[in-house]
Amino acid sequence: MPKDGIGASVKRREDPRFLTGRGRYTDDINLKGQAHVHFLRADVAHAVLNGIDTAEAAAMPGVLRIFTATDFAAVGGLPCGWQITDRHGQPMQEPKHPIMAEGKIRHVGEILAAVVAESVEQARDAAEAIVVDYEELPAVIDMKAACAEGAVKVHDDLASNLCYDWGFVEENKAAVDEAFASAAHVTTLELVNNRLVANPMEPRVAIGDYALHDDSSTLYTTSQNPHVIRLLMGAFVLGIPEHKLRVVAPDVGGGFGTKIFHYAEEAFCTFAAKQLRRPVKWTSTRSEAFISDAHGRDHVTKIELALDGDNNFTALRTDTYANMGAYLSTFAPSVPTWLHGTLMAGNYRTPLIYVNVKAVFTNTVPVDAYRGAGRPEATFQLERVVDKAARELGVDPAELRRQNFIRKDEFPYATPVAVEYDTGDYEATLNKALEMSDYAGFDTRRQESAGRGKLRGIGLSHYIEACGIAPSNLVGQLGARAGLYESATVRVNATGGIVVMTGSHSHGQGHETSFPQVIADMIGIAPDQVEIVHGDTANTPMGMGTYGSRSIAVGGSAMVRATEKIIAKAKKIAAHLMEAAEADIELKDGAFTVAGTDKSVAWGDVTLAAYVPHNYPLDEIEPGLEETAFYDPANFTYPSGCYICEVEVDPDTGQVEVQSFTAADDFGNVINPMIVEGQVHGGVGQGIGQALLENCVYDADGQLLSASYMDYAMPRARDLPMINVDHSCCTPCTHNPLGVKGCGEAGAIGSPPALVNAVIDALQRAGTDVGHIDMPLSPDRVWAAMNA
């Protein structure tokens, strides 16, 4: 076990500051002369907006200015970063996404006006005096109703509420239908992937600042990707060139996807600061977060699996309605399509797959990526239908999976849904998880539970995900309006210490600990000689940010490439210092040696020479030791794994208790096992939250019923078992320098179907004929299903 390099469970250096209140979050920043904004938000879901009277409010104490949509007439809408082309070759319908409601209110929580005042309380007082003249319209909430002929339209200027009707792979459709017609067995399942609210511990915050002396703007914001915000807001919304706009995302208290997107509040604060010549700050309340943070999931799916007479999967067909909400959030259209359809092969050799997705506008908060983004939706339906098929056919769910796995010797494996898995060993993780969970000993535990009046069940799931997004040329063809490389600058100082400026952003992932481990390992110095700088467009070269489990696979690779350049240059310097041939220089344990001799110079001697180039090959190389690399991956990475969940159901109340949870993951090489385990714990916690507790519910009028923690059930420590984690089944990624795959989302992707499969197993073993229960499996739903 290495002491502190790659593979060592180094304790997180950022934790003491987070745990002792010394972190510097956006809300901790207070600028001189700062004013505060309170947003007046819609309390109805759908209405014609006739007018907003701010006269009385504007005269109230402390009010600096009240903004409405008319102030943004010359400003662009919030851009969408991904364009989907539908089954018929047409671009998706893309409505304008204004900063504030223009002419119509389209969801509860939409901004109607913004009051900027000396204090938050004064702004809030004045907002209560604003008179909004509106005429309420019927709300469009249910997706299938929204697609019906004659449905009320969310956007009057669009042809319908259908954003797109996507077919994938469209050319396979006829062959898939034919395979179903000739199948020996077809298993069908209709299910809902419940809408979720991400609920990071830190709510969103934005502070706009404007510098008169150089006409530049700065936005401090709770973002997972400050450079992306700078590009989207600067180029598409406010018209500020990137060299006049700085975006800072300091310590961020959790993102889970919902802090990827560019939000109206960010553009507002930046815009208003320039108008008022004063910093303008907004801190979201938890109540606002529920109605303004992008939501996640919300798919309604019918999935069908065709099998031949030997239980081989022959075809898969899905039909999904995906909720977009009222407007297209930054990456919303990509989630149910390219992040979902391309994963429908799962771990299996199913030769024919057809995925249809209808994305629908409704009078609800926009829906976008949430931990896993499309892959949990794919995994849930696939692993549920495979489980159902096993039960219908009377075979062990583990063995039906094993039979249909892509074999270890079949990699690289091109699936029928456009992606090529580079490596994997699904049977290894299955066997590992079966062993860790004592699958064979389940019946003894079931009998013990039965003795206490409890119904015990066991369920498994096998997930695949595509991480490390992504080859820019590929995603460009798929409609992405951005490149998805990452960059890093490695700056070696004269005395040998290193600062790494990375475009990856850490908001809980532990980059400040794990990234130095890699560099320290490459050079042979202590990790505390390496500092990670991120989250500020002023001091990092460029960055596409952190999401999709991409930081170590893409950002880490950029850092490795830059460090390789550093080492190459340092070897030239060392060769000069030791009067040796460059080819003979070796770097080990922080010292350069000449092969076959006892000549040696320390890392610090070389770095000093680079900045004090008295004895230096100035005719060959420049002084200094700083290198930048951009890394654009050749492929996605494909983490996979097997999760096994064991539950007890109380037949009298329907209460489900998770008794044990096993996660055998293949993440490729692992930099810091402790951090990886923590990522799996967090992901599984969120997955169990989705499966058992969390549910975002609107009523037919578009009012959010689960608008606070009184009704939105977050998982707590006591809802979770100790999680048994293993990542020894390692097939390193074949196309990035570290052989890493990413681990941030796996837990949230693999766990919901394992849990639901376990509950169905418990209920069926107890003699009920319950075939499916939609998440969350709350006690009342389980009881109702048992007593239907």
Binding site: E121, R124, S287, D652, T653, G654, Q655, L692, L693, N695, V697, L705, S706, Y709, M710, D711, Y712, A713, M714, P776, S778, P779, D780, W783, A784
Partner: protein
């Protein structure tokens, strides 16, 4: 939160005088009032804190009666009501430690949240609510959701609990708020058994009299077998239907009896 005046009198008399102002409200632990003020749903002109009145605090047991001062916190009841273990256990499981260190018995009763725990204990115990002006029997105190027999300006000063021969409280938590989706307090006295249910009914806490009769004759879970509670009048929300709540009442009553017996 809107601006308000704040006073902290030392006696009940001073508190009543301060409460005579229009829009003045008494403040005890503030676990409901303060959040509703922060959300601007409640805007008293003056808050009269009762926490400075020493006479309203403490647990005293005399013979078969335990008297608990209105501003005694849940944590204090949990630690001090040793002579009435079921009540101490109930108090020790309300909310979380922060709530238990601030929330009070009197505040909970005066608020009469339909999903609060304490009303079930008070009603099942046939307790007496002592106020600044009179004594009110538990059966007369609770008057439907968030409504009590208290007059404007009248404050709860203490509750007298007759200590039962056996008792238990079992609650089933709503998954989000962790308030009871349904909670049942069963208390057995020499003259019969009382069963009070919280969290389930649209009318707030209530006594399940059929169960009381059956359990008075036979204090065992089996005595409930043939009983069922109609779903009419039970609450339906995101977390449970009326039918589910009616079912839970029976399950939890049985469990409470088993725990008490």
């Amino acid at each position: 939160m809107y601006n308000f005046d704040f006073v902290k009198p030392a006696t009940v008399e001073e508190a009543l005088a301060a409460l005579s102002d229009e829009d003045a409200q008494p403040l005890s632990g503030g676990q409901t009032l303060i959040p509703s003020m922060k959300q601007r749903l409640n805007a008293p002109s003056k808050l009269v804190s009762l926490l400075g009145i020493a006479a309203l605090k403490g647990v005293k047991t005399s013979g078969d009666v335990m008297e608990i001062g209105a501003t005694t916190t849940h944590a204090e009841v949990a630690a001090q009501a040793t002579a009435y273990p079921a009540l101490a256990a109930l108090a020790g499981a309300i909310g979380d430690p922060a709530v238990r260190n601030r929330g009070t018995l009197g505040g909970s009763l005066a608020n009469n949240d339909p999903a609060a725990c304490y009303p079930a204990a008070v009603l099942a115990s046939g307790a007496t609510v002592v106020t600044s002006g009179r004594e009110i029997a538990a059966d007369d105190f609770f008057d439907g959701m968030f409504t009590t027999a208290l007059d404007d300006g009248e404050i709860v000063t203490a509750v007298k609990f007759p200590i039962p021969q056996a008792a238990a409280y079992v609650k089933f938590e709503q998954p989000a708020s962790r308030f009871p989706l349904c909670g049942v307090f069963v208390a057995k006295y020499a003259d019969g058994v009382r069963v009070a249910v919280t969290g389930a009914s649209e009318e707030g806490v209530f006594r399940w009299t059929e169960a009381e009769a059956a359990l008075s004759a036979d204090f065992s879970a089996g005595a409930l077998t043939d009983l069922s509670l109609p779903a009419d009048g039970m609450m339906t929300d995101l977390h449970g239907s009326a039918e589910y709540r009616a079912h839970l009442v029976k399950v939890l009553t049985g469990r409470a009896v088993s725990a008490a017996a």
